[in-house]
């Protein structure tokens, strides 16, 4: 353990080595999941810091995305006389794609960076080493609760995003454009599927939650002990997590929505 920690503080891994190291780290963090839940207050604190504080950002984004989607679709669908399908299109798009993906990206920007820089700074100021000196495993005390909190927060944020997006779409379609509310909601009931659309979207956001939080805590924990190292960890978190979310989204979509 000591040897591996020392080597990671000297140089950060790249490429395949980093990928392998991340998986080992992931296995360790996940194996500490039950332990993290034994101290719920630590996890609660992190759900609050990572989840609650991201709600306004996710809420506003969802709201405006709902507004814009409804506005655009109302015009475009109006050309074909198909405005009745506006509700289902917005609902399916939000639940399947935009909710999970955009909330994961926003979460990366708002909370993933905070995670990485906080842990990176602990590394740089040798707080993590100090914990090791006191025979406290920093992965158990610092990383595991943060990871658990983040994993809980992301799917909830995605759901909140989708719900507020739907309300935004409702505002434009029904209140602004004068669409019949029964048409707006009723069309959804018959064409949006609970398992295919909503549950698959939730599974997506759970996967994204694991992915983003893992990258954030990994980059923070393995940051170089310098101001530049913390900056680099934060940047890498955003870049890698964003690409990973979008790439995973493609894979999950290809798998989940083969015949739907």
């Amino acid at each position: 353990m000591a040897a591996s920690t020392r080597s990671t503080t000297r140089r950060s891994r790249t490429g395949l080595a980093a990928f392998g190291a991340a998986w080992i780290f992931f296995a360790r963090v996940v194996s500490l999941f039950p332990r993290a839940c034994m101290r719920p207050l630590l996890v609660t604190e992190q759900v609050y810091a990572l989840g609650n504080r991201t709600v306004p950002l996710v809420g506003f984004s969802g709201f405006f995305i709902g507004l814009v989607m409804a506005l655009q679709l109302y015009g475009v669908l109006g050309r074909f006389g198909a405005t009745v399908t506006l509700g289902p299109i917005v609902a399916i798009t939000l639940m399947r794609e935009l909710g999970p993906v955009i909330s994961a990206l926003l979460y990366t920007g708002r909370a993933g960076t905070a995670l990485a820089s906080e842990i990176g700074l602990m590394r740089a100021t040798e707080q993590l080493s100090a914990m090791e000196m006191m025979a406290i495993d920093p992965v158990r005390r610092v990383i595991a609760p943060r990871f658990a909190g983040g994993v809980i927060a992301v799917p909830l944020l995605a759901l909140i995003f989708s719900m507020i997006g739907m309300l935004g779409a409702w505002l434009v379609a029904v209140v602004m454009m004068g669409m019949d509310p029964n048409v707006f909601w009723g069309q959804m009931l018959s064409s949006v599927k609970f398992y295919d659309d909503l549950v698959n979207g939730i599974i997506k956001s759970i996967v994204f939650g694991f992915c983003v939080n893992l990258i954030a805590v990994y980059e923070g924990f393995h940051a170089l002990s310098s101001p530049g190292g913390v900056a680099r960890a934060t940047t890498r978190t955003v870049v890698i997590a964003s690409i990973a979310v979008l790439a995973l989204d493609f894979l999950l979509t290809a798998y989940m929505f083969r015949g739907v």
Binding site: Y48, N52, V55, A91, L156
Partner: protein
Amino acid sequence: MRRTFGLEIGTGLFVLLGIGALFFLAIETTNMNSLNTGSTYAVHAEFSDVGGLKQGAAVSLAGVRIGRVTSITLDPKSLEAEVTLRIEDRFNQIPTDSSASIQTKGLLGDQYIGISPGGSLKSLKNGDTIHFTQSAIVLENLISQFMFNKASSSGGKSNGNQ
């Protein structure tokens, strides 16, 4: 203690908001509530061609949704598509000689099964079969038939002119 109290309330609200969002989406926007509305009974129907009918498609009578399609399989003996419909229990007065046809919502919409009631005094029960069925109208077949007729008639005319 005061510090953690606000934190716990906030976190609780956040989790509740998330779960509330799940319920809102499930109930307001998905077919969740039409999936589990009380008890249903199963009725079978055989079609020679189901076209693009899918599992979960609506079953409607007079345009009102009364159930859904739960399975579509091929009967290995008769080589016809066997469709199982689940109809809600409150619609238990459908005559046994009713007919089922596969129809399309609009020109390019989803396909569904429309039931036209017959005149029998007995009503369909769980496990019964609807004997009068009309297969899906496959638009491509209609178009190709039409094009074929058109081509052969115009072809004959042009030959005649030469």
